[in-house]
């Protein structure tokens, strides 16, 4: 059977559609998710199919979007809430961090709050300071939350379906730059399911490991190709889930290569790449032939609107290749 070619945003939509078909408790809520189908079309057609209750246009108030989702989850529904942009999840920060993440713990297991909060993340689409941020580090620091950040259509579908079935709250960040970047064969139905917490080795190599996620996966793979002619073979690992993250796969790779760079799109200081780098530097100390290096965005609020400044901000294959080369040559 021919698997359908889907973009990442279509894969997200497929996952929502299938899970809503599977379980009538699954519902979608957010700004413009209804007739408009979301500003990126991730919920297109869902309201027509499932009605205005199960696909609910919410007021412009992110805190209440998270809170209402939580209320629904506490009553046995499985809400998938959309934050229109990850940059706009901050008004909901208290609901997410103090409330949703801690429901299970603070009730000593009597209550739980399984829900998904989806949000487009990252830059590269001329979105400027407030439609380009990469806030995953905030959520990765919160015990009680899981954080997923896929980078391919198939992963997005498989992980979103798994997130919806997970028993804990999941922050699901979708790199908007990749929404329509490529088409891929995506398995139909449950064949797509992928467990949370497992990384993918997306390029094999023996000289150097690059650990990355999200849009940086594609950039890193391209960068790796540029090192190949010089005899440097980079192994690229896509984490896919950031909390919990797949330390073992990374460690095994570094034991082979002896070198590792962490490539991430967020601001360098305090980004999730710091956690990855710190952990791998500790675990792999004896195997390392070079320092664990971080290749990340500059410590500038986010990428400006100007194309020239956006370009200056963003990592691209050239910059990443240069960074990888340094690690290889150390």
């Amino acid at each position: 059977m021919r698997m359908p070619e889907r973009t990442l945003v279509q894969a997200v939509r497929d996952a929502l559609y299938e899970e809503m078909e599977r379980d009538e408790h699954v519902c979608v809520l957010g700004q413009d998710v209804g007739l408009k189908g979301g500003v990126f079309k991730a919920t297109e057609g869902l309201q027509q199919r499932f009605g205005v209750d199960r696909v609910m246009d919410m007021p412009l108030a992110e805190s209440s979007i998270a809170a209402v989702a939580q209320g629904l989850a506490l009553e046995g529904f499985i809400p998938v809430a959309e934050m229109q942009f990850a940059d706009y999840s901050y008004p909901a920060f208290n609901q997410i961090v103090n409330e949703i993440a801690k429901v299970r713990y603070r009730s000593n297991g009597d209550f739980s709050c399984p829900l998904v909060i989806r949000a487009p993340t990252g830059g590269g689409v001329r979105g400027a300071l407030y439609h380009s941020q990469s806030p995953e580090a905030f959520y990765c620091h919160v015990p009680g939350l899981k954080v997923v950040l896929p980078s391919t259509p198939a992963d997005a579908k498989g992980l979103l379906k798994a997130a919806i079935r997970d028993r804990d709250p999941v922050i699901f960040l979708e790199p908007k730059k990749l929404y329509r970047a490529e088409r891929q064969d995506v398995p139909p139905g449950d064949a797509a399911l992928l467990p949370l917490g497992s990384a993918a080795i997306v390029r094999e190599g023996k000289d150097l490991t690059a650990v990355t996620y999200g849009y940086m996966r594609a950039v890193t793979v391209q960068a790796a190709a540029r090192l190949s002619p010089d005899g440097i073979e980079v192994e690229v690992i896509d984490l896919r889930t950031l909390r919990p993250w797949d330390i073992e796969t990374c460690v095994r790779s570094i034991q082979k290569t002896g070198r590792v760079a962490v490539v991430y799109e967020a601001n360098r200081t305090g980004g999730f790449g710091a956690e990855v780098a710190a952990e791998l530097a500790e675990r792999c100390f004896a195997s390392l032939d070079a320092p664990v290096s971080r290749i990340a965005s500059p410590d500038v609020p986010a990428m400006p609107f100007s194309a020239a400044l956006e370009h200056a901000f963003m990592l691209n294959p050239d910059k990443v290749a240069a960074g990888l080369r340094q690690v290889a040559r150390y």
């Binding site: 007021p59 108030a61 629904l72 609901q95 009730s107 009597d110 009680g144």
Partner: protein, 316 residues
């Protein structure tokens, strides 16, 4: 009716006991419902624990009893014992939760339960079984953006929610005049297209009637109601606070004379529903219960240190 009165007395006696234990260094931290008890018990008396949902706040000690928590359970929480049904000693006492009783676990954070209750209300509306969600908070909490977002959402979708504000006119040391712009909390309701009701919180019958009417509205698809019960905070904010530092002594002295419990007793006696003898019998009984609860809770085991990491996620 006498049941409710008994609950009010229980709350007071337990609270008094907690204070003694706090002074003796046995309890770390207490928030007293003193002055709010009658309003709380009256509100719950108009509802259906077991059927409805309750998002309580930290001062709802008497409401928790009315929802079915036992004195011993509340003492277990005060002592942070493993058997505390709300959180196994993880939260400060006052964060009530019990899935089987419909009491939704809260946090110490002021305000977030309000839009959460709107979401629960939406779920109950979808379920269509006539249950409602009751959510309580102080007037300080009405300043939070979450108050507005919760009322707005519940108003739009006509969720079966009762927003119950226990207005004691103080948020720790901040008086209502610096907290609530405009005439008061109840007046905020009109802007959301819902009824707003102000009621004397020391009048058991008035509170119960206001909540019963709101419940009737909620159950029959009429949507949410905002109730403002005017009460007095007859104690400092918590055992960490001393209100004499910021409140007028004359006002404090005047308020001390307005304890709602004697008022409730007199109402019952004047209606012939309670005799002084019966009153004394209830009090004695309650006191014995408090003793037993205290002893049992104090003797109960603390949480196991190695349980610290449990329930962060489902699989641990």
């Amino acid at each position: 009716m006498l049941e409710a009165y008994r609950t009010v007395l229980q709350a007071r006696a337990l609270d008094d006991r907690r204070f003694v234990l706090n002074r003796a260094g046995k309890l770390a931290f207490i928030i007293s419902p003193r002055g709010h008890e009658v309003a709380q018990v009256a509100a719950i008396a108009a509802l259906q624990p077991g059927r409805d949902r309750f998002c309580l706040y930290y001062r709802n000690f008497a409401a928790a009893l009315a929802c079915g928590f036992t004195p011993e359970e509340l003492m277990l929480a005060a002592f942070a014992r493993a058997a505390d049904p709300s959180s196994g000693g993880r939260q400060t006492p006052g964060n009530f939760g019990s899935r089987r009783r419909g009491v939704v676990i809260g946090s110490s954070t002021v305000g977030p339960q309000i839009p959460k209750a709107a979401g629960i209300g939406l779920a109950l509306k979808w379920k269509g079984e006539g249950a409602l969600c009751y959510v309580s908070f102080g007037e300080g909490a009405t300043s939070q953006g979450d108050f507005h977002e919760g009322l707005n959402f519940a108003g739009i979708h006509r969720c079966p929610v009762i927003f119950f504000c226990e207005n004691n006119h103080w948020a720790i040391s901040v008086p209502q005049a610096l907290q609530v712009a405009g005439p008061g909390v109840a007046e905020r309701a009109a802007g959301y297209g819902m009824p707003g009701v102000r009621v004397r919180g020391d009048d058991f019958f008035a509170v119960r009637a206001a909540v019963a009417e709101a419940a009737q509205r909620a159950r029959s698809g009429g949507g949410p109601t905002l109730i403002e019960a005017e009460v007095l905070r007859l104690q400092s904010h918590s055992t960490d606070d001393d209100q004499r530092a910021y409140r007028d002594p004359a006002e404090l002295a005047a308020e001390a004379l307005k304890d709602p419990i004697p008022r409730m007793r007199e109402a019952l006696i004047s209606r012939g529903w309670l005799s002084p003898q019966a009153d004394q019998a209830i009090r004695d009984d309650v006191n014995r219960e408090v003793e037993k609860a205290t002893e049992a809770a104090e003797a109960a085991p603390e949480p196991e240190p190695n349980s610290l990491g449990r329930h962060v996620y489902a699989d641990a």
